[in-house]
Point group: C2
Chain length 332, copies 2
Amino acid sequence: MKKLINSPETVLADALTGIEAADPSVRVDHVNRVIYRAAPKVDGKVALVSGGGSGHEPLHGGFVGYGMLDAACAGEVFTSPTPDQMQAATKEVDRGAGVLHIVKNYTGDVMNFEMAAELAAAESGVEVATVVTADDVAVQDSLYTAGRRGVGVTVLLEKIVGAAAEEGRDLAAVKAIADKVAANGRSMGMALTSCTVPAAGKPTFDLPEDQMEIGIGIHGEPGRHREPLASAKDIAAQLVEPILADADFTGDPAIVMLNGMGGSPLIELYLMYGEVAALLEKAGVSVARTLVGNYITSLDMAGCSVTVLKADDEILSLWDAPVETAGLRWGR
Amino acid sequence: MKKLINSPETVLADALTGIEAADPSVRVDHVNRVIYRAAPKVDGKVALVSGGGSGHEPLHGGFVGYGMLDAACAGEVFTSPTPDQMQAATKEVDRGAGVLHIVKNYTGDVMNFEMAAELAAAESGVEVATVVTADDVAVQDSLYTAGRRGVGVTVLLEKIVGAAAEEGRDLAAVKAIADKVAANGRSMGMALTSCTVPAAGKPTFDLPEDQMEIGIGIHGEPGRHREPLASAKDIAAQLVEPILADADFTGDPAIVMLNGMGGSPLIELYLMYGEVAALLEKAGVSVARTLVGNYITSLDMAGCSVTVLKADDEILSLWDAPVETAGLRWGR
């Protein structure tokens, strides 16, 4: 295992130390492992809390800041944070307007956020609403989920809903826009290589030098099938076609993300985006905004995913609102 | 070779197609392989042109935009662009105020930019000034250079000097701030793995599973030495110590970049930054601004580099000026 770490046991603690040192706009609660805005609003704003297993950076900690999240709970690598962490974050960020939990659809995350919401309501009187993302069209159920996995649309949702909360909308309105984004986005990913979880010390799965896996999950969980390495053009088709088959993306404009899994360099991600854009144009999808880069990763896995979100005027206008976080620059 | 490409021969052309599709704020001259701002200023601004071999993305194409470059010339992977490309870019962006060439110190780049400057002056009467970056303390001469290699400080220079040009400073003043940045920055890098050049189809060098290379270049050219894999803390010391031994970074504040080589995930880069920050604090270096992420990469190489720039008030103020490019968000 070749990694820039001190020891498998201290990866998360050491990374949180680095995030805090690198970004003066956040502060870290090292006991509860929560990343907060260093200068939160005083009152009235609906607060957004997300979180999940670590190893997907910049998601979620890199998205804490003006226009996105108020707090992110960091679990161990690929492991859900605990209800205690989530409860502490929820209580800390509440400004009397309620808190939205943004949860990727994995069994541990869903269960723990649910428990945290109940505890925060019962013990601190915090009103909590929840949105669950489940945008991965690759599989219907999987290793860690009942139903579809939550992946790339989570990034877009945190940006868009963050802008709505920043505008001062109330919890019901913030929850409504979150549900709209969750309902209108679809994703599909693929891997050229496995990731290596530090605590395991070896690749999660074996993928021969001449094979790739289509429909991979962000924890290295199985996708749809394996097949021989193919061209970027062919890979793009295998990601875009299942997305377009699952929902109608004509009519409204779309926001499209070409996301890297962590180990693929930017030159390849841009190249892939060119292929995806050509396919979408051919299919009559009008791309209004794009994002190309590493946004929801899977440690050092080489590969990429495509996310397409149907975006009406409200979503586009929220997408264009200012954002100041380490992990997402102003969307254009 | 596992890459998201169509064929080794078309990597650059296909990536340029993707960049143009992804970023409406740039346009691409596909014949000359130059990335331009889509909406350049009409007149009076000193223009900044850079470029070099591809494979280091987002450098340089991702840095074209308001507050940074006016044009970037893209060579084939790890190969200098030609004087023709540079001459075309120089002529195209000149607004009567002259053009600054930003050149990393590699023999081909230096020679070709020199020829382009002469041609642009002789044939089009464009006044050209040049800054050469040579900040890599790892080696004095190397495979592709006489003198030190130009690496990470190029990123910081393009941001800072871009802001100076945007303010309307004249060519001599822009060149002066460029020279100041080039003189006051130092870098050092390391690799856990080799990169693989698409046209070669196999790793540039062999690096056993239990070894790393300290002082690596951004083209996989040899560094100082190889040694057994070490902890992040130890690696950080091996990068920071030679930098601090080469220049005095106490007194003024510093801008520090922890840069990923392309194949290392963000969680490891943040972890490394934590170690670097602790060492700098111990050495009495006051870090005023930071940048953590993939900014000057080496295809899919796993590893990182550290760049430290001594920054007076003028440099810090230019660093803080707005920037709108795909590759660099507003530095904080």
